[in-house]
Amino acid sequence: MRSQKGLPVRQAGQVVLILILVMTVALAIGLSVIQRSLSDVSTSSKVEQSSRAFSAAEAGIEKALSGGLPAVINFPDNNSSATVTTPTTDGLIPAIPQGFNRQEALECPPGDSRLAKEDVAQVWLADPKADLPTCTASDICYKQTSLDVYWGSTAATDKAALELTVVYYGTDSTDPVDPSTTKYRSRKWYLDNDSAGRAETNKFDQVPCPGDYPPPLTGYQCKATIAFLPSDLMLLRARLLYNTTSQPFAVQASWPCSLPSGCFIPPQAKVLVSTGTSGQTQRKVQVCQLEKVVPSYFDYAIFSEGDINK
């Protein structure tokens, strides 16, 4: 640019301004690259530590499942360790209550209490640690003649029905063939939500389902008390019918109980929590150790003491 006289005009400062602008942009780009590299390194090292902690936690669970508690794992060359504990004193669920109080409800299956359509939940009514079918005085076996069951979720629109199978070891006066022999037998209950309107078609026992039960069973839709249970109870199997979503199922010992023993459902599982540590990172793994589980085909198999002839 020139003045009217043709002399050059000083443009002091403009180059500096442009230079500063360019520098600022370059600085921003450069700093963002450095920032990203630092955060990447930090994240990847934390993720690696987390994997080491998780592997150690799993190792702790394996040790506790095989050898019981206390289980402590230490891999000094890998800078990881794990300790296994139980969330309560003995970690058993359902716990036998302190003093003579009603037992907390057991949500089944332990750890994940939702049953998909036609999934089966199993509850031991005889102590799974006992030498069955005999239940000795030291075993915890359920001996009451009634039991409370809860099923279905108030949040679900599909109204589930419940099929209950009680397996017991005894006699059955209603058996037309062999009423007096003491052997493994089963008895079934079919319960349905009375608002589902299926009574005419399925002939199930209709149960009013108002919901609104006291905690921790707040979200349950239906409750029924199954009565006239036989003696020498072994196990209870429950299956939800008509549901399309997974819904919860729970059982609870009846109360009040006047028996000298047998008021409580035996512990079904043991909860183990393994805490793996590596550096500053901790990972927890929780498992439910079940005592004994009958195979999935149990409900569909034919059991016979002798040969089966077609």
């Binding site: 600085l27 450069g30 700093l31 590299s37 990847s44 690696e48 080491r52 592997s55 150690a56 890998n78």
Partner: protein, 133 residues
């Protein structure tokens, strides 16, 4: 007043600061890019190692024999000189004090970054009647 030629102190200082920061940035960017590559390799190595452990967990305990074999994973070729081993050994008696039926699995993945051998090691245990068994 006579106009003076040359640069003032502030101007020259400004130039020095600007050139200094540019040099610093340019010197750091390759380093930063290398760190990004390194962290990508660490993440990949971790994923390969975790996959190996998960594969071992699907094997029935009776078929889990003591072994030290190289890892075959196509993702190893992404890393420079990527290699790895899976080692199955009996549980260290100092950990399994009661002689439990447990195998110790050690997965090591190594690669070269910045002319240095980098290694990731994951250790876990698989027991009879344990998780997935």
């Amino acid at each position: 007043m006579k106009e003076e030629k040359g640069f003032s102190l502030v101007e020259s200082l400004l130039v020095v600061v600007i050139i200094g920061s540019v040099v610093l940035l340019i010197a750091n960017i390759p380093n930063a890019l290398m760190l990004i590559a390194k962290s990508r390799h660490v993440s990949l190595a971790r994923e390969i190692a975790v996959k190996q452990i998960e594969d071992k967990r699907t094997i029935n305990y009776v078929n889990l024999v003591n072994d030290n074999s190289p890892i075959t994973d196509t993702r190893l070729s992404i890393m420079p000189e990527g290699s790895g081993t899976v080692e199955v050994t009996d549980c260290d008696p100092s950990i399994c004090t009661n002689g439990e039926d447990i195998k110790q699995v050690t997965v090591t993945v190594s690669w070269r970054d910045n002319n240095k051998i980098q290694t990731i090691t994951l250790k876990t245990m698989i027991g009879e009647g344990g998780i997935n068994q």
